[in-house]
Symmetry: C2
Subunit: 402 residues, 2 copies
């Protein structure tokens, strides 16, 4: 027999898809707890990027048992193109398909359409583009993005937005922002229709989105223009979302611009919802953003750098390809407790990298993720003990020493 609660869409409106609790603040910095149906996420949190249903080079077992990631990212654009949402739906959604049972956040696909594809045709309705894989003509809109993300079944779904270039002028940014605002409304509306079970019958029967159990985050745009950021923030909050993201940063603008935008935007964001800075950044960026009130992050840096030999350490970055490490018996980061640093030497990892062994990328990516998640745990501890400013200052001094 069908459970009355789960078959009645309207009741779900009363269910909270996520639970957010701020458990400590230190200046603008916050320590919080984000609970989804699948995991308890302590913030500030870094979410490893699992673009195509896999965190590049690092098996889920390590993410679960050692690195202890409670949430990872999935990219709607990539999964939409391959293996295709039809396949993922048939196989029971992204969690079942990939076997990752903790939380997932999916982006809307918008950012990748604007950064990875050519021949885009932008209209009020949505965006037509050609797949970067095979050139096939595709179309994404707020409604389609919501449907795809419902089928993927992540705990957190992102509104479909347009992301202008970092150096976009005021007029172009305003135009883009207004489109993003209209798309945000359409995203919200369609997300709610889906949550209310008003999906097209063809989709409904097979849905794996667990109606009512997904959260929807809105995205604040406005490039480097403070007034537009504020306007975007207000319009997004007016629509109302379960969480708020800052998009369109770290897209080519100066670091100082990013930090100032954060300073002007983050503290004004609702306190009763998580704040997510999309696609950012270096360890420094993370601490700067945390100090300005950001709770959630994702970025490809730890795994992308891992694949090219770039190592994040408590003494700054190092490149394992450097000849100086050829006979260096130290671990990547002597202060790191991860299984890579506990066992393998720089000399060995450099050798693997030089020899083209894929295990080099695997081990360095693993360490980098462990370093990022550990940094966020330490930041959290410092916030809760009201010593975040000192923690941040000492951390930045130390990585600058290198």
């Amino acid at each position: 027999m069908k459970n009355a609660l789960t078959s009645c869409g309207l009741l779900h409106r009363g269910m909270k898809p996520i639970n957010w609790k701020v458990s400590g603040t230190d200046g603008d910095a916050r320590a919080g707890t984000l609970t989804t149906r699948r995991s308890v996420i302590e913030t500030p949190v870094f979410m490893p990027v699992g673009t195509q249903g896999s965190v590049k080079g690092v098996r889920f077992e390590w993410l679960e048992n050692e690195i202890d990631a409670q949430i990872i990212l999935g990219n709607t654009y990539h999964l939409f193109l391959r293996p295709g949402v039809e396949t993922i739906r048939k196989l029971g959604g992204l969690h079942k398909f990939t076997s990752w049972n903790r939380s997932i956040l999916t982006d809307s696909g918008g950012f990748q359409v604007f950064s990875l594809t050519d021949l885009r045709k932008l209209s009020e309705e949505g965006v037509e583009f050609r797949s970067h894989i095979d050139g096939a003509k595709c179309f994404l809109s707020p409604e389609i993005s919501m449907e795809v993300q419902a089928d993927l079944g992540a705990e957190i779904v992102m509104a479909f937005d347009e992301c202008p270039p970092g150096d976009a002028g005021h007029e172009a940014t305003r135009k883009s922002l207004e489109l993003t605002a209209r798309w945000a409304e359409r995203s919200r509306k369609h997300f709610d229709r889906l949550a209310d079970g008003l999906r097209p019958a063809s989709l409904q029967s097979e849905t794996v989105g667990l109606t009512g159990k997904q959260a929807l985050f809105g995205i604040i745009q406005g490039a480097g223009h403070f007034d537009l950021r504020v306007e975007s923030l207000e319009r997004t909050v007016e629509i109302g979302f379960d969480g708020y993201a800052i998009g369109g940063l770290s897209v080519g603008e100066e670091k100082e611009v990013m930090y100032r935008v954060l300073e002007h935007t983050a503290p004004q964001m609702p306190t009763n919802a998580p704040r997510y800075l999309m696609g950012v950044g270096t360890p420094e960026d993370l601490l700067e953003a945390v100090s300005r009130g950001v709770d959630m992050f994702d970025c490809v840096l730890p795994t992308r750098n891992g694949r090219t030999g770039g190592v994040f350490t408590s003494r700054g970055k190092l490149n394992i390809r450097n000849a100086q490490f050829a006979e260096d018996e130290n671990p990547l980061d002597p202060e790191c407790a991860c299984s890579v640093c506990q066992r393998y030497s720089r000399a060995y990892l450099r050798h693997l990298f030089q020899a083209g062994e894929m295990t080099a990328a695997t081990l360095i990516s693993h360490h980098n993720l462990a370093f990022y998640l550990d940094l966020m745990r330490k930041a959290r501890g410092a916030i809760k003990e009201s010593r975040f400013a000192k923690f941040k200052r000492e951390f930045l001094e130390k990585i600058g020493d290198n």
Copy 2:
């Protein structure tokens, strides 16, 4: 104070570097136990190939904690060229350098010189060749190979041999075999000098070869010529080694030739020493060789196929790239207990492979190694219970069904 036993080379001659015990036979097939200073190896055994100090795509942690490999292979040729024996010696030998603490067998470098390099100049003294990495002129001889392998510090060291092509004629094979026999004597002699502490002083002070604790295996050549195989066997046994290997098979000759050579050679090999078939082969090859009395194997197939999507299963081989697996929720091998088969579906692994995710290679290589090692454990069980012929017949029938 130096221990009298370890400072006196002569005493070491009385110490057995390895211990070999046959604990069961079934026809020509044998179940044995090979004990080194680092691990207890139950045979028949498959040794994963760790060419450059890493088993491609599979972290040591999985090899230790799940796949349970007690011995892996290292390639002298590759390590000699990169990172170089000087570096490995400085860093304390191959075990310390790589952090692999169980047994290692190193080959002599001969086979790779003959298969990977151009511009070889073969002389009685040894072989001059150009590095496949940077074209640098290099030289290997029985003496140099023994010195390099002493510095690498593996538990089992291979004599330096010449490997003729699989289709070499009788005369060419005899000539090659005689060179191999003279090189075997020189290998033995120089190995013993090193073991007796008579190494050049420049090497001795830094040695990590743990004098007296390495075993030396001789190699039987002779291509597809039975009379020459027997002659090579007799000459090798006359010199006297801790174990005996069959080289020069699976180098392009017909399967039937290989099986017949094994049938004529393996059962005649000394019973009181392990028998090692070098560089072979498929699961079928392994069982055919076990049935003819072989104890040890190595081969790149499980990891090389893993990287190209080739999967070994109890129902035969499958290629994960095949479109038929796009929505297949079954594990790679429903009869396999490995962590990959317990968790991941064919559909997911195919997706990872198609999407170019390196984790595809990692997971399939892991499964393939688990499959190989498990096959050897099952063969051992069958031998000990005198049902090996039945086990082999049923296994071959089943993989043929596919």
